[in-house]
């Protein structure tokens, strides 16, 4: 079980959270300009790294706010927690 530090509520068990997949996936600025391939890519393709991964979590059973986490997908170590909208921190 992960221990996740909500930026607003502090450390809570993973059970209180809802997973939202990859962070920083921007909605296309000009959707009608996209080719079918680009649209499929936007809808269906996400990074799936073996290593640090920037992802979204929502504190569903707490403050109900969304935020971002960088987590290592092998060790599950949480390397950064930061509010949605902020750029991804540089992980050494």
């Amino acid at each position: 079980m992960l221990l996740i530090a909500c930026p607003w509520c502090g450390e809570r068990e993973e059970l209180e959270f809802h997973y939202g997949g990859q962070a920083h996936v921007a909605h296309p600025a000009d959707p009608e300009q996209l080719s079918d391939g680009e649209w499929g890519e936007y809808l269906f393709v996400r990074d799936n790294p073996k290593g640090p991964f920037a992802e979204r979590w929502s504190h569903a059973a707490g403050c109900r706010r969304w935020f971002n986490v960088v987590r290592h997908t092998v060790t599950h170590q949480i390397l950064a927690v930061y509010p949605a909208g902020e750029p991804k921190p540089v992980i050494p």
């Binding site: 079980m1 992960l2 059970l15 997973y19 997949g21 499929g40 890519e41 987590r71 997908t73």
Partner: protein, 405 residues
């Protein structure tokens, strides 16, 4: 068939050093990679083949799955693919001359809500129209078929009925792998363990081989069968795949007397339970929500599946858990596999089987071998091409694919 366990695997295949070049290199010696090599040789006469495995043969998800085999999927495309597999399972022990204890004891998919009942009866009708055996059982019939299921109306999610596929069942997974490996080896296929693919050899847009920790190996065609690591490998070839890797775990109890006559699955309360040939109860549930490659799952998933199992099977209350483990499964947005060529010439893809690929092992190998040998998708595989994520022709199996992807 005898029920003596087959001989120890050390003598079932050679362990050759990799040669410098092959017609086909298959990456991953799980069930799918081995079945692909077997059918490349058997159906297409292609025997200049190597199967490269970074760990040990069939030590990935093949060694970790709960061995449920069934073909009661909803969409025509999937039912056809899994039914092809089921028909192959029925002949393979004879054909491979190896008793891997395929036991057609049936699979019950329980319904606990009105929506489950509708989904289940719809799937039974769809299956029957498609020539797949399927029945709808009411709670009394469920009790008659599997007396240890709690069909009392007093539980939180009472059993309102179940679908039954009588021809479904389980098989001894490691013996399946050894049986396929032995025959592939006899055809001359090189099964090479401890050989990790670390990159691809390219000639412009074409793949012409692989880099490995045991040196470069040239190949006419390269076929991925790397399950949870498919997107890592595809990334080395410059491809991004619509798959996400998730931990999926299972557990077994101590050995018990034979008490559990069939396989029981419940999407709603979230557990599946069967009894292995030796007597352990084998249980699994859904994937962890987040991506991961750690080959272990969260403890709360175990708690969740055990509480569901206890409500359905009060008789198991005093059973001890002996062992838990996790695998890494590759999940696609429509819970269906991806099989076929890729935009990179000579590079073929077979992945995205998620939580349910063991049951497909023979047909996965059959259609993949055809696709590699002929360069054209096998008709059963054509709908599962990568292009469906561009055309939008998804095969949405989230309802029937497994217990919650």
């Amino acid at each position: 068939m005898s029920h003596r366990l087959p001989e120890h695997p050390d003598w079932l295949w050679r362990t050759p050093d990799p040669r410098r070049s092959y017609d086909v290199v298959v990456i991953g010696a799980g069930g799918h990679g081995l079945a692909t090599a077997y059918y490349l040789a058997r159906n297409h006469g292609i025997t200049d083949v190597a199967v490269l495995e970074r760990g040990w043969l069939a030590g990935g998800n093949m060694a970790r799955n709960t061995t449920i085999i069934r073909s009661n999927y909803l969409c025509e495309e999937s039912a056809a693919l899994y039914e092809h597999a089921l028909k192959l399972w029925e002949v393979l022990p004879e054909e491979l001359d190896y008793d891997f204890l395929f036991s057609q004891r049936g699979v019950l998919n329980l319904a606990h809500t009105l929506q489950d009942v509708r989904e289940g009866t719809r799937r039974v009708n769809a299956n029957r129209l498609g020539g797949v055996d399927a029945e709808w059982l009411d709670p009394d019939q469920v009790r008659a078929f599997c007396p240890i299921v709690n069909t009392s109306p007093d539980v939180r999610y009472p059993v309102l009925g179940a679908t039954l596929q009588p021809r479904a069942g389980i098989a001894k997974h490691d013996h399946v792998a050894w049986a396929l490996a032995r025959r592939a080896d006899a055809y001359g296929v090189d099964l090479i363990q401890g050989c990790e693919v670390t990159g691809f050899l390219r000639d412009g847009d074409r793949v012409v081989g692989v880099r490995t920790n045991r040196g470069p190996i040239a190949a006419g065609k390269v076929a991925l069968a790397a399950a949870g690591h498919s997107s890592v490998l595809a990334g080395l070839a410059g491809l991004r795949l619509p798959v996400q890797s998730h931990p999926l775990q299972a557990l077994v109890s101590e050995l018990l007397e034979p008490v559990h006559p069939t396989v029981v699955m419940s999407n709603h309360v979230h557990v599946y339970v069967s009894q292995a040939h030796k007597g352990e109860l084998v249980m699994g549930a859904g994937v962890d929500a987040y991506n991961g490659y750690g080959q272990r799952g969260s403890f709360h998933m175990i708690e969740h599946q055990m509480s569901a199992a206890l409500e359905l099977f009060p008789i198991f209350a005093r059973a001890h858990v002996l062992r838990t483990w996790g695998g890494i499964v590759d999940v696609t947005p429509d819970a269906s596999p991806i099989i076929g060529p890729t935009p990179v010439e000579n590079l073929y893809l077979n992945c995205g089987w998620g939580t349910g690929g063991f049951k497909a092992t023979p047909s996965s190998g059959w259609v993949y071998a055809h696709t590699i040998a002929t360069g054209e998708p096998h008709p059963l595989a054509a709908p599962f091409a990568l292009e469906r994520f561009t055309t939008g022709a998804l095969i949405d199996e989230h309802g029937a694919a497994a217990v919650a992807h």
